[in-house]
Point group: C2
């Protein structure tokens, strides 16, 4: 990776500010020993952990509850070849505490997908990394 005038590493605060701007990201995890990814809408909790809402019996819940996952969001503009991406890496867990579930039912994300017996999944923001590209020229 070459860092130079078209590529910049973002600090944690910049990353969280950018994450808060978008509504969709991608959960990256392992399923049956293969890399797996699922786009979801999300929100950030007060402690910067990523929150999403899905069905209690979903494949996603089975695959990620208790596991370390990555969560990626980005925005790119093809015309200028510029944009940013942020990756949160941390442990994912289903929210089982009743009071916490109740709080998130009021303040947390509403799934864009139909869900059955909805649960909240929290991804702890243990590691937050990001980068920005600002119009790279074509290179090989």
């Amino acid at each position: 990776m070459l860092e130079n005038d078209v590529f910049r590493i973002l600090d944690r605060q910049e990353c969280l500010r950018l994450l808060a701007k978008v509504q969709v990201g991608r959960v990256v995890y392992t399923q049956q020993a293969l890399p797996a990814v699922l786009p979801v809408n999300f929100s950030l909790d007060e402690d910067a952990s990523v929150l999403l809402c899905t069905s209690a019996g979903s494949d996603l819940v089975r695959a990620v509850d208790g596991a370390v996952v990555a969560f990626e969001a980005d925005e790119f503009t093809a015309a200028t070849r510029s944009g940013w991406s942020v990756i949160v890496t941390g442990r994912a867990s289903v929210v089982t505490d009743a009071a916490e579930h109740e709080r998130l039912s009021r303040t947390g994300p509403h799934s864009w997908m139909p869900v059955r017996d909805g649960v909240f999944v929290r991804i702890e923001a243990e590691l937050v990394t990001g980068r920005e590209i600002t119009g790279a020229r074509t290179t090989r």
Copy 2:
């Protein structure tokens, strides 16, 4: 996963048509036993495999050459809570054949990032899946 009037599975041809519309996707792989993801610009080859260009000595090449990876692209519109996502799963490999490298230098993707000693990585389109959501109402 509930399939209904706001959620639809896409067939392979629909997926490939949508993939061809966008320039950025995300390589999903495993690095040091953890889920990893990297957004990259890409193009589709004639056989529908995903092509990207990166530095020969990059962490990405070390992690994915010879491994099965996922590649995800999507487009969502927050205002209407609609959009699509496509995931290609297959073996990734660095293009080592000189004639093939030469062909891709003419027809393949140009990296938006600065690269050093550029190589092409091909992800075979062994499994292509996708889904579309068309304005889910808020659900829990």
